[in-house]
Amino acid sequence: MSAPGTNDTEPWPLWEVFVRSSRGLSHLHAGSLHAPDAEMAVRNARDLYTRRNEGVSIWVVRSTDITTSDPDAKGAFFESPRGKEYRHASYYTESEGVKHL
């Protein structure tokens, strides 16, 4: 099976859409869509993902341009932080005399 947006029956490539809901927040992945090029992808994203006042900014990127982590490498990638409590702020005790913590 070919990647989405790359076979002959899908003439328009697939794009991933990221929407920022308000100033100060990050762009979040909202979904994906088909579009002939980047400019039209932004416009389609506006129609599909910001119909109900959801956003102030849109990013689009070709799905094929995204490099993903390997789902089979779960252990090496995502299990390493386990047991490393010192990476969390809550691991540390409050020092005497430090205010506003």
């Binding site: 328009w12 809901s21 308000s22 927040l25 979040l28 869509l33 088909h34 579009a35 002939p36 090029d37 400019e39 039209m40 416009r43 389609n44 506006r46 129609d47 599909l48 119909r51 109900r52 006042n53 959801e54």
Partner: protein, 271 residues
């Protein structure tokens, strides 16, 4: 997703319901003018709605559907306002008038044709409506000004959508270019009618916008896009027009019948 990451709200905007509720009666002349603009938007919305589930891609179904709904919203506002003058409702005006009582431009009733023809029609009407609403926000009639203020932002997007497609179709493949040229050729004869002044507009003074005053900007803006698309402004045949007096092309009747059949078969039905 939490409420905080995706805030969803309708926002404040002028609606047809608010216009009806306010009950600010327009003069007969203002009502007739609102009827024209409302009919343009209504008939265009009806035509565009046909594309849903028929556009080249699902995304374009949504885009054209959105534009149709925007137009329907404008139509509801204009018709609701006009209706107040005659103690009628927006539905009375949309569903229970006959063909010669509709005063829309002949352009908007033209058949959809292929996608390029629809884009050609959309390109022309969106640029026209944008220039019109941009000026109507300064109308001495407060309700017309308020409707225009909301509509101009939406129509700004419609003209961008149409412009993008004119460029892509014209500069795309040999076939898409052929279709874009053909589409413009079919629709352009109806451009002339849009800019004709008449007694009603003259009598309204600064409450209305003189169509002839829009021509220069329309020509400049559309001309620039067509030049970028390496297209000629179509010349030659000019349709006789008359939409503002209730004269319509052969395509209008069947479309109107389809639009009105449900409301006429079941008067006052709600769902």
């Amino acid at each position: 997703m939490s409420d905080q990451t995706f805030r969803i709200s309708a926002g404040e905007a002028l609606t047809a319901e608010k216009i009806t509720e306010a009950g600010e009666k327009p003069t007969e002349a203002v009502a007739n003018y609102a009827l024209r603009l409302g009919d343009d938007a209504l008939i265009l919305a009806q035509r565009l709605g046909w594309w849903i589930a028929r556009a080249p891609e699902l995304e374009e179904d949504v885009a054209l559907g959105n534009i149709a709904l925007d137009q329907l919203g404008h139509a509801r506002s204009f018709l609701s306002y006009a209706a107040l003058a005659w103690d009628k409702t927006e539905d009375d005006l949309a569903y229970f008038r006959y063909e010669p009582e509709f005063v829309n431009l002949q352009l908007v009733e033209q058949p959809n044709g292929d996608f390029a023809a629809t884009i050609a029609r959309q390109f022309i009407i969106s640029h026209f409506q944008f220039e019109l609403y941009r000026r109507l926000v300064d109308s001495t009639d407060a309700t017309l000004a308020a409707i225009a203020a909301k509509a101009v932002k939406e129509v700004d997007y419609h003209r961008d959508h149409a412009t993008q497609w004119v460029l892509r179709l014209a500069l795309g493949t040999e076939e898409s270019r052929r279709r874009m040229i053909a589409g413009l050729g079919v629709m352009w004869p109806y451009v002339d009618e849009m800019f004709r002044d008449d007694d009603l507009v003259e009598s309204l003074g600064d409450a209305a916008v003189r169509p002839s005053s829009l021509r220069e900007d329309f020509d400049t803006v559309t001309g620039a896009v067509l030049a970028e698309a390496e297209l000629e402004v179509p010349e030659g045949f000019v349709a006789r027009g008359g939409g503002r007096e209730g004269i319509h092309t052969e395509f209008f009747g069947p479309m109107l019948a389809e639009m009105q059949v449900l409301a006429r078969a079941h008067p006052e039905a709600t769902w």
